[in-house]
Symmetry: C2
Subunit: 502 residues, 2 copies
């Protein structure tokens, strides 16, 4: 390399590092807002968010950035990390350059206000409070799609933000396979006389004991507490500020320990991904999960494929009992296992069982696709939502809080995000299928509480790469094929056929 | 105003607002680092701090800033807030611009090394380890004073950073008055046969109960929990991120409830100041306490003049008892009051009682002044320190850890800071004297737990102004005179004469 090139690469990497620093500061601000920032400071904090975001926005679209992209992109003398970083920067540049800076700043301020309004609206179960904010958010997003352009379907442009490579065509295909497999299964279950007993799940389980058990499971999963912490929030999440600081939150329901336990395992799965990204990627935009779908594959893998597995509870059931005051006395592990795998149509996505869960996602996908293809109006959403729940799940929400207002995503403008949850589930089943080929003692590992080889497999095949590989590239490198819904369908069919003795 | 002027003022205020946004983000990062950030993320977080700080430094010394200062300063058509903001910016510009960037960078690196070395040196109680670093820090500070220039005394330049308007001449005067009054009082107390019993203070008082009581007192003080929160840290502090988000922390010692209770009241006093600054100042550098000394006057006012007052405990003693498991059974309020006002010479400043405390400060002041006037050598500091403790307090430290190495300040180059603590105490007594003229029922207010009129008085006279008024300007506007040590001396003399029945 010439000295000029070495110099320029260094300059570019410093520039990118500064952007990442702002991003980390923003991540901390968001974490803080959700875990306990005093409410009277929120308006001013929104200004800070606006300022930092717009600085990042500015840097991502500056003439300097344009010059780096122009002079460095594709130069094979550069390191792979630099080249992939340039790709990410170019993608962001192309996206951001097309939105007028002022419009973006207004949008960011709107976002953070909309989230507070959504919180109150949900509490009061009043969609009309949230409606004007949601309409504004959607109209910004529609404008943005026009700025960005699209291929095939306007909604593809949104999907591409969360799951590059995934399109409406692919989703229409896999989602229809999944829907066609699940709906009859749900039907059969509802007609089956074999219903697991579940009443013992809902006895009082004190919050502090739930927390202790949750911490124990996080530890078993390999979550590093020197690189993270567990807090309490209404809406649980995981956030990777850097690989040495990856925080999870959970929610406690003293009459249903499953909320905290499976919630923690889920967020812990996300966190393990972020904790195990190669340290070489720190300070670049590659130091993060490659996509929302691959991220969700990790959380769902742990929550469901590990956390709701029979072998997992062989090891952990007696440990769980140690934290209770006799709640599970006289309850056999088989009954416990069936109970935590109960499937029953319900209103709230994040409380849904793991069979009906994909239907919640498919409903959101269909609604979002319709919104951005101008097929429905925002004010009609509660009605449309409720109709779909009735059609797919056979139940109709009684109010906005248990219907249209339940999720935070739209208040932050995250359209195109929901499909990732179902994609993640499909990826997870597909990874699992490969993993047991390479770790044929998978069940015994779970039964002995030794999750280390599992985590190592995930780090080796997925986690370490961060954004160095695209989602479908990882899927292909690991499994040798493209997205295939059959693994999830097989997994769900086998599992629920046994649980319900169908 | 011409349109160009209006435009330019707006541009300048936006520029300043951005700096304040970075400052708020930094404030949150520091709060987070101290309240529970995972240790493996700290190195990367330091990069974020470096990045944001250097951006702020850059903005404070940029050509843009120079141009704003040159074209707007002193223009009477501008609002008072803009003019005062310009003054603050000019002061920072002049300070920052005069140090060669390379030298400042070296100094920052040295600072952070010196602090880690100090930590180890204190642990090993070995001043010789810290000596070369302290010498370097001092020699940089001396160079900086030469760059900055000085009036009258070199040390004035350092004082001006923390307490604008206060000079060596003023301090020599008031500190000698205070010293001459306190030393004989301390003497008399040590010879008095009337020693308060204190053993009942040190019974086990569970942390969660201490916390509940501390929250109760914060509430009584008028601390707004919608604009703040209470957390736990090794070193308690208060931090104002904006007036709607002012956080306090405290430390719990289960064998000495005074640590948490008086610590919380102290930090609560700082917090009330920041919570009650006029919202008009948000987004400017004026939105903060005007000086370290005035800040400390508010914390010491609450901690000592309110929190260690007899009337205050008339209301709160029985409430405190409700949180204990019989700890104070059979202890009369008079005995309790005398116990919490015990005075006894001790080595560690932050554990000192409120009578001997100013002597700890005066010792540091005399040493710092001598250092910057080249009257003593750094290597002789332990000896000088110990001699002064013996002379003023009648006790001689047994080692460096309980002597010269106890405070972190010098390792960070914070010379000129210590006097603020004693100035704050003098301001507090002087404000109190005025306050009782206007609120003659001061004692009854305390005795009825109604601190609201007191807080309103402080907001009206001090808090609302932020940095709109300089410390001595506030003092003069409120009391009609300059700094006068007699109020503190009267206060201490009256109080301890009664407690010790002298």
């Amino acid at each position: 390399m010439t000295e000029t090139l070495i110099e320029l690469e260094k300059e570019f990497l410093d520039y990118v590092k500064k952007m990442q620093a702002y991003n980390e500061a923003l991540g901390l601000i968001y974490w803080d807002l959700r875990t306990g920032a005093p409410k009277n400071g929120v308006d001013q904090r929104a200004e800070v968010i606006g300022m930092l975001s717009s600085e990042m926005f500015h840097m991502s679209t500056s003439e300097e950035m344009a010059a780096y992209i122009a002079s460095l992109s594709g130069n094979n003398e550069l390191s792979e990390i630099t080249l992939k970083t340039l790709e990410e920067c170019k993608k962001a540049y192309d996206r951001n350059k097309k939105i007028p800076a002022k419009e973006f700043q207004e949008y960011v301020v709107l976002q953070s206000k909309a989230e507070s309004v959504w919180e109150v609206a949900r509490e009061k179960s009043d969609f009309s409070m949230f409606l004007p904010y949601l309409e504004k958010i959607i109209s910004y997003q529609k404008k943005f799609i026009n700025y960005w352009g699209y291929e095939g379907n306007k909604y593809n442009t949104l999907l591409d933000m969360y799951e590059p490579g995934i399109t409406v065509d692919i989703l229409d295909q896999v989602f229809s396979e999944v829907r066609n497999a699940i709906i009859p299964l749900v039907q059969k279950i509802s007609e089956s006389p074999n219903k697991p007993k579940t009443s013992f799940l809902f006895e009082t389980f004190p919050k502090d004991k739930q927390k202790e058990f949750s911490l124990k499971i996080l530890e078993q999963m390999g979550y590093d507490f020197d690189s993270g912490r567990l807090d309490e929030t209404v809406h649980p999440f995981a956030t990777g500020l850097n690989p040495g600081d990856v925080r999870v939150t959970t929610r406690y329901d003293e009459n249903d320990f499953r909320t905290a336990v499976f919630g923690t395992i889920h967020e812990g799965g996300h966190a393990l991904y972020e904790q195990n990204i190669s340290k070489d990627l720190i300070g670049t935009p590659l130091c993060s999960g490659t996509s929302m779908g691959i991220h969700e594959s990790q959380s769902l893998f742990y929550e469901n494929i590990v956390g709701r597995d029979y072998s997992f509870w062989k090891h952990n059931y007696s440990i769980l009992q140690d934290y209770t005051d006799g709640q599970f006395e006289g309850i056999e592990i088989d009954d416990f296992y069936n109970a935590i795998n109960e499937s029953k149509p319900s209103f709230i996505r994040i409380e849904a069982d793991m069979l009906t869960y994909p239907l919640h996602i498919i409903i959101r996908y269909e609604i979002e696709k319709a919104i951005f293809n101008d097929e429905i109006e925002v004010k009609d959403l509660p009605q449309i939502w409720n109709d779909k729940y009735e059609e797919y799940l056979g139940i109709r929400p009684n109010n906005d809080a248990e219907g249209i207002l339940q999720d935070v995503h739209w208040s932050g403008g995250s359209f195109g995000y929901f499909p990732s949850y179902a994609l993640g589930y499909m990826y997870a089943a597909q990874f699992k299928h490969k993993m047991v080929e390479e770790l044929p003692n998978f069940d015994e590992l779970l039964a002995s509480g030794n999750l280390k080889p599992i985590q190592e497999w995930l780090t080796k095949n997925i986690h370490q790469y961060g954004k160095m590989k695209k989602p479908l590239e990882i899927l292909h490198d690991v499994t040798g094929e493209g997205l295939n819904a059959k693994y999830l369908i097989e997994y769900l069919t086998n599992k629920y056929t046994k649980v319900y003795n169908l």
